[in-house]
């Protein structure tokens, strides 16, 4: 049995190294999420958000798998992250995943009812048709009895994403991982899908990990946030803390570069430059090459340390407004 102080999923010190590269693609990533919580992982492309999800699911390609280190504790049991056979047992049954592109993650040659039922058949006896029908109804597919026999190309993008959600949730998982579930959708459809995910999560009392680059989606759904940059968690905490009291220069830069729907229109602030490649990864703080506050001390790796009970930041100068007074 899980006790109150061990969360549903705890990812400990995950790192990933490719071949002979001198820097880790991902390093020291620790996350935790409990039932009823939604952890949003935010960051730009290439920061390692999707790799984190694939690692938890045990879906990394063999070439990458060799470089993975770290452990994960799920539902009271420990798993080594480089052991995909152990993870295969819980994948799809206890952990469901929604992929980004509903267009390319459904098989075009099979009817959707069959594809949803397959997720059931993999882990349960029976053909799963009834369960699939029930699930398709639950995710809001109109006339599911008829739609079950449709092929993916007959559905719109929003409907396809609903089918993906049905597949992920048919085994009533304890943890749902959603990798950019609405990025390919229009805003009005995105709003529908976000509502659906949050309703289903509440009714199933799942833990959810949502991966996104959209801070608006984060503000809407998250209870916890982890901001990632270049394969590291740079800031983590409760959603309220992160939005009301952001501390890491990267988080601040991200928030300032968002154009707003309200208030005065000023010139957008930016994060100068671009994400370093693995060959040019700086040795200390990985954000130091783009940080407007970078100093000589940033050549050391800043540890992820707590600034208050529910908030950790990996920056030598946090909180900036106190430690850098008069410098900037």
């Amino acid at each position: 049995m899980e006790s109150k102080d061990s969360p549903m999923l705890k990812l400990c010190d995950m790192s990933l190294k490719i071949g002979s590269q001198n820097a880790d693609l991902m390093s020291g990533v620790s996350l935790s999420v409990d039932r009823g919580e939604t952890l949003c992982i935010v960051g730009e492309s290439g920061c390692g958000k999707s790799l984190t999800a694939l690692t938890i699911m045990g879906l990394l390609p063999p070439a990458l798998l060799r470089g993975v280190r770290g452990t994960m504790k799920f539902d009271g049991q420990s798993y080594a992250l480089d052991d995909p056979t152990a993870l295969a047992d819980i994948r799809g049954r206890k952990i469901g995943m929604i992929f980004q592109e509903p267009m390319s993650s459904l098989n075009p040659a099979f009817q959707i009812g069959d594809q949803v039922a397959e997720a059931w058949r993999c882990h349960n006896p029976g053909d799963g048709r009834d369960e699939a029908l029930e699930m398709l109804r639950k995710v809001g597919i109109p006339a599911p009895e008829l739609r079950m026999n449709d092929y993916p190309h007959q559905l719109s993008g929003g409907m396809r994403q609903r089918v993906m959600i049905a597949m992920a949730l048919i085994n009533n998982p304890d943890l749902l991982i959603a990798d950019e579930p609405t990025t390919a959708l229009d805003v009005t459809i995105q709003a529908q899908i976000l509502d659906l995910i949050s309703d289903l999560q509440k009714s199933g009392d799942m833990a959810t990990i949502m991966i996104t680059h959209d801070l608006g989606v984060v503000a809407e759904l998250a209870t916890k946030v982890a901001v990632m940059y270049a394969g590291k968690v740079v800031e983590a905490g409760s959603a309220e803390e992160i939005f009301s009291d952001p501390q890491h220069p990267y988080t601040i830069g991200l928030m300032l570069s968002l154009p707003s729907l309200r208030g005065p229109k000023s010139r957008l602030s930016t994060v100068a430059g671009m994400v370093p490649t693995i060959e040019t990864m700086p040795h200390g703080c990985r954000f130091s090459t783009r940080c407007p506050f970078a100093q000589s001390r940033c050549a050391e790796v800043p540890p992820l340390q707590s600034v208050c009970a529910d908030h950790q930041v990996a920056c030598h100068f946090a909180p900036l407004d106190q430690s850098l007074k008069g410098v900037a």
């Binding site: 805003v187 009005t188 989606v217 309220e240 992160i242 968002l258 707003s260 010139r267 957008l268 407004d321």
Partner: protein, 358 residues
């Protein structure tokens, strides 16, 4: 203000199905669009996928010919132009494409890519002058001129979009049409490109027609805006006016569907149920009525006409008066930022400005 590009009752209908004996139906990708774009302004066209915004952009640019109506550029109907006249038009009307990964030829260097429009539109330049011009254009869009002999794959997405912009500017155009110029880019890079396009418009006095689905980006960039739904313009007006008082139910739904990046700021959602109808079989009357919470009988019978509801603002809705009386508010529960965070934001801005200036 002079009108530089104008669409008059513009339509693009594609024949679908049908055979020798039977007439097919037509897909109205763009239908009865009237627009006026003024010289020097940034005009935005917004809408969801499949609403016809990209088709409209290609019609305005004469990349395709309309099946009805006219596009007028500087007083001339561009559909009738031929040969050399079209080439002259291309010099004045340029296009920035959406996907910086597929719109640049991977086998050409950046210098070749940018020199190509120069060779066509300014043939009297010598090779040396052309190279110098390429360097100047690269510097203008914030890239190092010394990188001109590199290939597109050596650049990141944001840099490639800058190359695309430099190509569009090479012929010194009067109007640039940008089709989703930043939607493929990450937030921080997106902000860099939005700023760059704003600066270029100011410095060169460009007229920019920008197409996007991201309303926040649009609000930031544009002076006037047209909202499209299923091939028709449903609301048009000055950007600030449309954002402050959206009057068409679709515009309001679009705005309230956008998640706001503030904790606790859930908007009073007007969720649209269902999905856009197929453009092959649009609903009778108002095409939005199947998803509209305000729809009544009249909406099924009559197509609404554009009504001027405020200076420069037109709305195509039978019920815009009822719609605009319902207020669209953002819940006051937004937590806002702590004073410490505000101080940090200010420091970031100052530090960034100090970095830029020397």
């Amino acid at each position: 203000m002079t009108v530089i590009v104008e669409a008059q009752d513009l339509g693009k209908h594609y024949p679908v199905g049908g055979n020798l004996l039977q007439k097919g139906t037509s897909l109205k990708a763009v239908d009865g669009v009237n627009l006026k774009v003024h010289a020097g302004e940034t005009f935005a066209i917004v809408g969801e996928s499949g609403c016809g915004k990209s088709t409209l952009a290609r019609l305005l640019m004469r990349l395709m010919l309309p099946t009805s109506g006219e596009v007028i550029f500087e007083g001339r109907a561009i559909a009738k132009l031929k040969g050399a006249e079209v080439r002259a038009l291309r010099k004045d009307l340029q296009f920035i494409f959406q996907d910086p990964f597929s719109s640049l030829n991977p086998r050409m260097t950046v210098a070749q890519l940018i020199a190509e429009p120069l060779e066509i539109h300014r043939p009297n330049l010598t090779a040396g002058e052309r190279r110098k011009e390429v360097g100047r254009l690269l510097a203008e869009v914030g890239l190092r001129p010394s990188h001109m002999d590199r290939y597109p794959h050596e650049f990141s997405g944001g840099q490639r979009q800058r190359i695309g912009i430099a190509r569009a500017l090479a012929s010194d155009p009067k109007v640039v049409i940008a089709d989703e110029p930043v939607s493929a880019l990450d937030v921080s890079v997106q902000a860099q490109v939005v700023n760059l396009m704003g600066d270029l418009c100011d410095q060169r006095g460009l007229t920019l027609i920008v197409i996007a689905h991201d309303l926040a980006v649009i609000r930031h960039m544009s002076d006037r805006i047209a909202v499209m739904y299923l091939g028709r313009v449903v609301e048009t007006g000055p950007t600030d006016e449309v954002f402050a008082n959206p009057r068409h139910p679709y515009t309001r739904a679009l705005m309230s569907a956008i998640p706001v990046a503030e904790f606790g700021a859930t908007q009073s959602r007007q969720h649209l149920s269902g999905e856009p109808p197929s453009p092959l079989a649009p609903p009778s009357g108002c095409s939005f009525r199947t998803r509209c919470p305000f729809a009544t009988e009249i909406c099924a019978q009559m197509q609404p006409v554009n009504e001027t509801v405020a200076p420069g603002t037109e709305v195509a809705c039978h019920h815009w008066r009822d719609v605009s009386s319902v207020s669209l508010t953002i819940a006051a529960s937004a937590t806002g930022r702590s004073p410490g965070a505000e101080a940090r934001f200010a420091m970031y801005r100052t530090a960034l400005a100090n970095q830029d200036s020397p």
